[in-house]
Amino acid sequence: MMYGYEWDTTTWVTYTTSILPIILIGLTVTLKAAAAGFAIALVLGLVFALLRRSRVKVISWTTAVIVEFLRDTPLLVQLFFLYYVLPDFGIVLPAFLTGALALGLQYAAYTSEVYRGGIEAVHHGQWEAATALNMTRMQAYRDIILPQAVPRIVPAMGNYLVAMIKETPVLSVVTVLEMMGLANMIGERTFEYLVPLTLVGLIFLLLTLICSAGLHRLHKALPKAGIPLR
């Protein structure tokens, strides 16, 4: 994707303006990877949280161990594991999907704890009421518990989204050309690393500041205790 691009390294201003377009293409890849990873984390995290609360001891303990393991090992090594080991088992995914999967798995471990906290914060009487109405466990979760848990966990989830955006550069080590990968590549060709790296750093800073401000407003807009319980 670098063919046909020219950059002018005479001054840092011309250099910045000439690489900005391609870095912005990288930004879209960064955002897409974070979005895909976050979607996986939201779904898988809920699955982990529900399995963790299962009444069958074997299931809840196994899930606890898996979540702890995912949480306490580095994303980079998990990514290498998926990238190099999955093909040995005949699962060949594009680098982008492998990367999104690695992000999703690691953050599913984090989000499952958030879900668990949210679910446990729902008043005990709600479970009793659901039982009194002869609901199954599944129905109670879907119609009673989760709708009350979700509003309280939104801010925490948002923080993890911001954290995940900042971790996407890791995907560049498995050939995903997001911002950081492109910046390094431009550096390799021009031997001028500082301008592209500074540019990427500034874009990340801007991105996190915007996201944090957005989250702050969202947090203010949400009712303090979520949906009223009683």
Partner: protein
């Protein structure tokens, strides 16, 4: 070549990982306390400096910071070996998060405590070191524990600036043997084991902090 043959090389990498992690935790904790306290007590200019520090190091990715300092420091005449660069950048990064923890904990000390200190004619330094910090440090410990684990995990990124840590060792062995499954499994288990040890260590420190041994003269409940 059976998987046991990888262990010596991985062990060597693991010692580098442990060194970097511990050094970064110690330096990061110092930065965290300095900048966290400046945020609360520093006055308008110093607290703004501390705010800039935390925002920059938390807001830009560690990945970018590592490469930036790796290429930038030699340009201003500071040539460290990669390990020092790795430790400093990692420390500065987690120090940014730590400073927020310190700030939050100091802010959560109840106003009555500060009023009591003022009533007893404590000056600002006395109030900070005798009243606020001993109480705040207990509040900080769980968050610092998580941050310590985070430091260990993030230390894997230093392999990308050519430091021979555990991840780097795993990569080199894989490039020779192509035995991905066993190498990465062992590596993940090694990191997990180190996390568990680190967590246990944090528990022990937390226990001592809670007993008040670190601040024997503090008014302890």
């Amino acid at each position: 070549m059976s998987w046991t043959a990888y262990l010596p090389m991985l062990w060597q990498g693991a010692t580098v990982t442990m060194t970097i992690t511990l050094a970064a935790i110690v330096c990061g904790a110092m930065l965290a306390f300095v900048f966290g306290i400046l945020r609360v007590e520093g006055g308008p200019i110093l607290s703004a400096v501390a705010l800039c520090y935390t925002e920059v190091f938390r807001g830009t990715s560690l990945f970018v910071q590592l490469f930036w300092f790796y290429y930038a420091l030699p340009l201003v005449g500071l040539s460290f070996d990669p390990i020092t660069t790795g430790i400093l950048v990692l420390a500065a990064h987690v120090g940014g998060y730590g400073a927020e923890i310190v700030r939050g904990a100091l802010a959560s000390v109840s106003v009555q405590q500060l009023e009591a200190a003022r009533a007893l004619n404590f000056n600002r330094a006395q109030t900070l070191f005798r009243i606020s910090l001993p109480q705040a440090i207990v509040e900080m410990m769980p968050a610092f524990g998580n941050l310590a684990i985070e430091t260990l995990k993030l230390s894997s990124l230093v392999s990308l600036i050519s430091i021979a840590d555990l991840t780097f060792a795993a990569q080199s062995i894989r490039n020779i043997t192509l035995d991905s499954a066993s190498i990465y499994s062992i590596t993940l288990v090694c990191y997990f084991a180190m996390s568990l040890v680190l967590m246990a260590a944090v528990r022990v420190i937390e226990h001592f902090v809670r007993r008040g041994d670190v601040f024997p003269r503090s008014a302890h409940s």
